[in-house]
Symmetry: C3
Subunit: 480 residues, 3 copies
């Protein structure tokens, strides 16, 4: 039986000179704490000391559309994988067996790397997962998942997570975050304010959510003014609950400024169920400016990500709903579309606007030049499909020469798969150190600078952006 | 006089560790048979045992727009190269001399690599082609081309071509394919069904071809129904003649579904010579859905390639016609444009839809995520201008992490230059093994997996996609 | 105190085999003369033997929007950097201190590389620039800048500049160029004809400039005919003053041919202050064809660059004017947009049309295939944001396989920072030799070819394109 192939110098270039430098740099950052600025871990897992991950299939397969999409693409029915949760194949051992027999599909993919590293380093599984080893590995995982040291809170500590930010809608009650705070546990878990649920006027259920927003804030939304006031009240609540940032998602990116009367007219139409697609698009573009204004006022970092066609596979969406692995990127444009926002607020250093993209052709052409000019704009790390060795390499190669390292914000795992978090950060740290080692052996930077840059990539940039805008950062003896 | 520079470890990275692994992997695949899923070799060459390639200029220069476009771009008149065939310079030695004097233009290009490898490995020419060596090399080539062992059928066997698929219009009679079959020769040559000639309503001569389609099938085309029936009849004939796949080309990609009455209205207008550009575009978009439906029914693999502005150079087209080296790519969009087709048929694992692109910005952004989700969709190999060392490297780096290797289909040489086929596949195999060796020395996959992946890239993926959808594959002792 | 990290083999790959070849190639080109086909050096600096560069802040910071934009992006106010010239912080030592304290922002950027190389190799500063070393370095620079051997003309000779072409509007008087010629100095400084000032009908002040054009040429512009005649007269004057080329810039690229009556109607409307945006766009597209025609007639090389949104930051532009580091690229399209021009003049080998782009996604998709076909079209070097190690690597990797090396034109520094010129060319030469060495060790070209290609990249291509279209080139013993 073969063992996992995870050599200690993995992901470094084979050239011995570069590898030596990469290793030295990596040794300085490998054990730094993890900052997770926004992601999708269910806070319920951490709200209760006794919470567990469930079966191996529930942990690794059923909720993870990165994983099951690949088997689906090769003709494995979703039902055979127990997807969506609670339907399909009831025998989790069978699901695991199917997964194991198709594990070769993940060769050369980031998912394959994360899974191997999780299984070996988190769960101590040394054998490669195949059809032949599937059941023995299931046994071992099942036994370990029942132990206290494999509960979410235990892993949180073991992973050295310094802060974990979830993603929460404006109308979320944050009850699990409350429970975490009340429990006296010292893990730092925070919400992120994602007002998509109330800002996208045509999303199903919008009026019910607006009503709920009124109940939660005590401000009945009947006009643009009351909408803004309710939103600001909700932000204030999120800040009280520890939020560091907001996050917004939109299919089509435009930013524009409406007059108050136009905005008021649109929201009143929406409240009567009469908003048009054009209304919704214009309102969203306007609200991005408003979110920037609010961020200047309350200090929350503003994050936006654009350019994914959600639920592209309509028949699958009709049967199973969202998050079935078929959100597909398309072309993005930032130079013209961000201009109204940047012209209004981009020169204000109190604003930190972090932009993520799925369209890498915008790295050199639009985002790096913009981030290399506007004081407010920072470029988010390689995101989603680009959270991979080659995605990171392209990011470093295309972004830094024009934007500079210090207009980026480090890494964001953005994951719902909690036990994969250390593997994801480890890939980023290794990729970053290898990139820097490449600069050192080519004489672009010296190792002294590279060592500082490695720290910044692994920890400092995220820390400064989200947690410590105006203070010095200390980790052990280092000061940032 | 200098010799060709074709070292045995060419195209591998210089790092000794990576090179050793690349060599080991390459040794396992270098001699595998060649699968050529669609290309433009003239079947006439193989229909007659006595057929020859003609003069060196007729073999290497006159028919190959890859070659003559480069000299043209540097101011060499097409007439000096005997282009188009049968016109211009009558002295093939003079053409060869001009070519040789400009051979330095191909430095660092795939054409330069293929030509060097062909001349050395197929024809035994050791000296580099220059103005000084041109005539001696011409002598040697002329002498060899006259020998039986350099006839097309002899090379077919020597090259270990397992199957060669040509490209043939719906109204082609496949007479040369018939002749090949009747001749008793054991070479496996098959047609590919390319119905562009009858589906693009505004291409010159469409009505004559529709009449011809009626004659060939015995189904007079007077309506949408009869058009579809005639097309299906023609597909059945191609299948009888061994076809494995279809191929479609279009400038603008859209897919959409028409009602039968709208489709019928369009084709009736076209039959009266009254179809508009919008009609033709909508009809083509609709026919892509119909071709998918037919492929589900008859099992032919469906191939599409989009995004080339054909005959961009109008004055040249007006004088000399098509294929003058001026088909120029432009921007492509798949996420929105393929959606109607994928929503209707993309979840059906009986369909294999292979998409080729000339717009590499769509690799990570659109095609890899789509291929990594829809069971029917596969991503074709790096095509046309990207059939090159860097094109392949970019393909591996951008596609596999998201799509996985098993949503790709291996290599397609797509060439009309028959003697270049082994060189093209060899470049692919070397590039693939070097990429895999890079993964091995970086600890992304182990050598056991890489060895299987090398086989898949070189042979297995193409074999399974086009020839053996549901059977096991054996090559020598290996089983796939 | 740390020293600059500029090892002799910098920018070469770490692999010892590749590095040895790169070094050998580099040694053959490192000292070749510099050809600067168009840039923005102020000719006043060279018009007077006694001219100096001013203070270190005036040389390195205040006029260079590459430099100050990076500090601005991190919240440093422009006023603290004395920007725009003559305003803000009056103490140049304080400006220098601020710059030095933020010098870490340039880690891994081309600006950082150029500055390090300038400071060490031009000015003999061995220590890295930091807050701690800032004042001592200022002292040393100030002292050196006062010496005769650091005056512009002395550096011109020391840098081995063979020819330096500036960029000058059609209505410029070229008085400094005249002064250079009259002075008897042997430096070869030439103007480049950039008629943007009179061709873009809606740019502020257009009517005044048209009047000026009439005065300068003695041809009053009252119609399309007189406009063309005045423009031709001005070109003739630039040619007398030594111009080798024209240059055109436009936000939106279209090329099209107007009838003379339409062109005449547009210009008459413009003269009455009534031209529309559509008029201006169509007129500019038409004038690109006219510029091509004129280039065929008078032999000036035609350069165009497109795709930058000038002065993106409106509030900054309103306060400070242009060139504040906020020209931001956006998507470009060449296949369709250049077609009218290429169809009319692209087959004429007397025309040399050099296209530069900021949208790298057009390299493989559009520009390389176009340059690999049309005799008139050449692809300019990696430009502006892409004048960097990775920008050059991407250029070589994406362009040459399809276009061939000989449809490119070498390097253009395009800078206003005169003392950075040798560093910029040195980066290009090192990057080029390293790329070629990569081809050699991979067996793509042999070292004999690579040596010629290195010469061509460093010198020959630019020489032939701009200076010696029809003659042989000799440098020392080499002949091109």
């Amino acid at each position: 039986m073969s063992k996992w192939h995870l050599p200690p110098d993995r992901f470094f270039d084979p050239d011995p000179a570069q590898r030596r430098v990469a290793r030295r740099l990596y040794d300085t950052v490998a054990d730094l704490p993890l900052i997770c600025p926004h992601g999708h871990v269910d806070p319920r897992l951490l709200a209760d000391e006794e919470a567990t991950f469930g079966s191996p299939a529930e942990l690794f397969i059923i909720p993870d559309h990165y994983v099951f999409r690949m088997l689906y693409s090769q003709g494995v029915p979703l039902a055979a994988l127990g997807v969506p949760a609670g339907s399909g194949e009831p025998d989790h051992r069978k699901i695991w067996q199917t997964f194991a027999e198709h594990f070769y599909l993940f060769r050369g993919t980031p998912t394959g790397i994360w899974l191997a590293q999780e299984l070996r380093d988190v769960f101590g599984i040394e054998e490669k997962l195949t059809g032949a080893t599937a059941q023995a590995i299931y046994d071992e995982l099942e036994e370990k998942l029942a132990r206290p040291e494999f509960r979410p809170r235990a892993l949180f500590a073991r992973f050295r997570v310094e802060v974990l930010c979830t993603t929460d809608f404006a109308t979320d009650t944050l009850e699990h975050h409350r429970a975490i705070r009340r429990s006296g546990w010292d893990g730092d878990v925070r919400p992120t304010f994602r007002p998509d649920d109330v800002i996208h006027l045509l999303r199903p259920g919008w009026r019910e959510r607006i009503k709920r927003l009124g109940e939660l804030t005590g401000i009945e939304v009947t006009s643009y003014r009351t909408f803004i006031r309710a939103l600001e009240a909700r932000r204030a609540f999120f800040r009280e609950m520890g939020a560091l940032a907001t996050d917004s998602d939109g299919t089509v990116l435009t930013t524009l400024e409406l007059s108050e009367s136009e905005a008021d007219g649109i929201i009143r139409r929406a409240l009567r169920g009469r908003a048009t697609e054009a209304d919704a698009a214009r309102f969203f573009g306007h609200m991005l400016l408003e979110l920037a204004r609010m961020s200047i006022e309350d200090g929350l970092v503003m994050q936006v990500h654009f350019g994914s066609f959600r639920n592209h596979n309509q028949p699958l969406f009709d049967r199973f709903g969202p998050d079935m692995g078929c959100d597909i990127p398309f072309r993005a444009e930032f130079t013209r579309n961000l201009r109204p926002l940047l012209n209004k607020y981009g020169n204000d250093p109190r604003l930190t606007l972090v932009v993520y993209t799925l369209d890498e052709s915008t790295y050199t052409r639009e985002l790096a030049p913009l981030a290399g000019h506007y004081p407010a704009l920072k470029l988010g790390g390689p995101w989603w499909f680009h959270d991979s060795l080659n995605g990171m390499r392209r990011y470093f190669d295309r972004v830094i020469e024009t934007a500079g390292l210090y207009n980026t914000v480090g890494f964001n795992d953005d994951t719902r798969a909690f036990p994969s978090i250390p593997a994801r950060h480890d890939v980023w740290r290794r990729a970053g150190c290898n990139w820097l080692a490449g600069l050192v052996v080519r004489g672009v930077v010296d190792e002294e600078d590279a060592t500082e840059m490695a720290f910044d990539l692994a920890y400092g940039l995220a820390k400064r952006t989200f947690l410590a805008k105006r203070q010095a950062i200390r980790v052990g003896k280092r000061r940032f």
